[in-house]
Amino acid sequence: MAKNLTAILKGRGTLNTVLDIKNLSIEVNTKKSKYNVVEGVNLSIGKKMKYGIVGESGSGKSLTSLAIMNLLPDVLKVSKGSITLNTEKSKELTKLSKREMQKIRGNEISMIFQEPMTALDPLYTIEHQLLEVLKFHTNYSKKEMRELGLDMLNKVGISRGKEIFKSYPHQLSGGMRQRVIIAMALICQPKLLIADEPTTALDVTIQAQILDLMNDLSETHDTSILMITHDLGVILETCERVAVLYAGQVMEETTVEQLFTNPSHPYTQGLLKSIRSLGDHKNTLYSIPGNVPTPAQYENMGCRFSSRCPHAMEICKSKEPSMYTVEKDHTSKCWLHEEEGVAYG
């Protein structure tokens, strides 16, 4: 319980936070059209905290992470809101120049991508790629870098470091590659590690190894983790707090424990119900009817989940709900909570 309480306090920003996202919107701007793909996202990630973002494809979870890294593709841009990184001093990431951002990437914030096959350059050895991060961000001698590199490989569970140093990515298995990528991400001791579906491409037994490793490393390295995934099981395994994204908006935000024991948004309830009914042999599964709306449909649809929601009321179709506090440390964007909850945002 004590652990939970600190987690809660961290989440509310009363203790130091590493990253604060306030009212973030991301806009697609092409000649033909202009609309928000991510809208009004608020998150704050405490020191050493493991924070999860869960959502289906197209919910905007990866775009949010790319916005933090300032890596959004050209057609997309942050149209509103702020992303603040609090390390030695606070920095507003959306306002930094390219150069300033390069100093932060890989050093203060690192990112792990889903596909360990494409995240490494096939033409360079592991040694080259791993030490490149250090070369860019530090002034260590070559010998020191090699030592640090070998030490880091050891920490991610690669014992034959010297051999691996000489190998090329194609000579390693998927699990090994993902370990190398984690080593690269952590070698500068970042304050925040963003992991975008880090285990989706891996088999379950390897997934278990990698999640275990990430949990250990965040403890020993004082690193906060932002875990982005579609898999609620992975969230439960690793995170303390979680935000549920749907159609570009946060629908529910709370501790992982509360999300699983007392989900309050109908979308979260539906998701949990449909996964939990799996295993009941051949009985009809609970499923959320319909499809996720496309960004072009977002405008004037009221609550974005209303077309698929079993509790939809008249107001849901015309007016977007605000974020209500349903209990201590638990918010949900749904009209059902209008009476009991306190609105903000």
Binding site: V204, Q209, G233, L236, T261
Partner: protein
């Protein structure tokens, strides 16, 4: 003639892919993708093949469909031996055994409308005149939960879940007896996945289908299957009824695999068996038991002798020396 209570029988199936090398492109080794597996699938049953990538589950599925020629072994479809029928002749029998693939984005021709996608198999197999075929297409599209108005659209106009419905309609329109589903719901989001699973279960009852369901998702497999076969490095490690495999797994690999599924209950304390290392290279598998290098219970005998595949309990087979005294 084999026993016809089974829709599919596979006996000692092997599929090796040669590795060519040197100046003369001689065969210098083999990737043993499927190495001596035996199983059968009863009529109207769902048998799932599970395992990690590279375990040979997809190769098994494709070899049954004769997309690959087996290296050795026998395959029977409804009692008829199909493993030695030449490809050209087998084409006529393909309507009895259909396949649904993982990726609904690449398995549908983007230049064909849904109508022509569904008409094509009927006309190729000469199952109906054009007029009858058009009616059948209309019926089928409604069975999979889409409407007749959507028939003249192209695949890109549909979402992933809807495309998978089209793939299902295309596979089922020729009235097959057996359907091989290779990771058929793996690319779909959770909320869409359950819609498609419900549809598959409904259609299985309606058309009396036999499913071979290939997947790495153990939660989905538990829901859908009557029996489950666990594969590792081209070999069948354990085969049994779903409830026996999930409640009473015998093989150390099955136990580790099941313990690795992330739990969905915050209060459940699960004892996790973390396997060390990776799946070995299938062109150079370890001696004896293929799992011994990662097995927490490996002993001397495992390196010396390949374990036999034995029926340890009724209808529950396992290949492990721990159960072969």
């Amino acid at each position: 003639m084999a026993d016809t209570a089974y829709a599919i029988e596979v006996k000692n199936l092997k599929k090796y892919f040669p590795i060519k090398g040197g100046v003369l492109k001689k065969t210098i080794g083999n990737v043993k993708a499927v190495d001596d597996i035996t199983f059968n699938v009863k009529r109207n049953e769902t048998l799932s093949l599970v395992g990690e990538s590279g375990c040979g589950k997809s190769t098994t599925g494709r070899t049954i469909l004769k997309l690959y020629e087996p290296t050795s072994g026998e395959i029977f479809l409804n009692g008829q031996k199909i493993s030695d029928i030449p490809r050209g002749k087998f084409r006529r029998m393909r309507k009895d055994i259909q396949m649904i693939f993982q990726d609904p984005f690449s398995s549908l021709n983007p230049r064909m409308t849904v109508r022509s996608l569904l008409l094509e198999p009927l006309l190729t197999h000469k199952l109906a005149s054009r007029k009858e075929a058009n009616e059948l297409v209309g019926e089928m599209i409604e069975k999979v939960g889409l409407s007749k108005e959507q028939l003249d659209r192209y695949p890109h106009e549909f979402s992933g879940g809807q495309r998978q419905r089209i793939s299902i309609a295309r596979a089922l329109i020729v009235k097959p007896k057996v359907v091989i589903l290779d990771e058929a719901v793996s690319a779909l989001d959770v909320s869409i996945q359950s819609q498609i699973l419900n549809l598959l279960i409904k259609l299985q009852e309606e058309f009396e289908l036999t499913y071979v369901f290939i997947s790495h998702d153990l939660n989905v497999v538990q829901h859908l299957s009557d029996r489950v076969g666990v594969m590792y490095l081209g070999q069948m490690m354990e085969l049994g009824e779903t409830k026996d495999i999930y409640n009473n797994p015998l093989h150390p690999y099955t136990r580790a695999l099941l313990s690795a599924i992330p739990s969905l209950d915050p209060y459940e304390k699960k004892e996790r068996i973390i396997l060390h290392g990776d799946v070995p290279d299938p062109s150079n598998p370890p001696s004896g038991c293929p799992f011994r290098l990662r097995c927490p219970k490996a002993h001397d005998r495992c390196a010396e002798e390949k374990p036999r595949f034995l029926e340890k309990e009724k209808n529950h087979w396992v290949a492990c020396h721990l159960f072969d005294e």
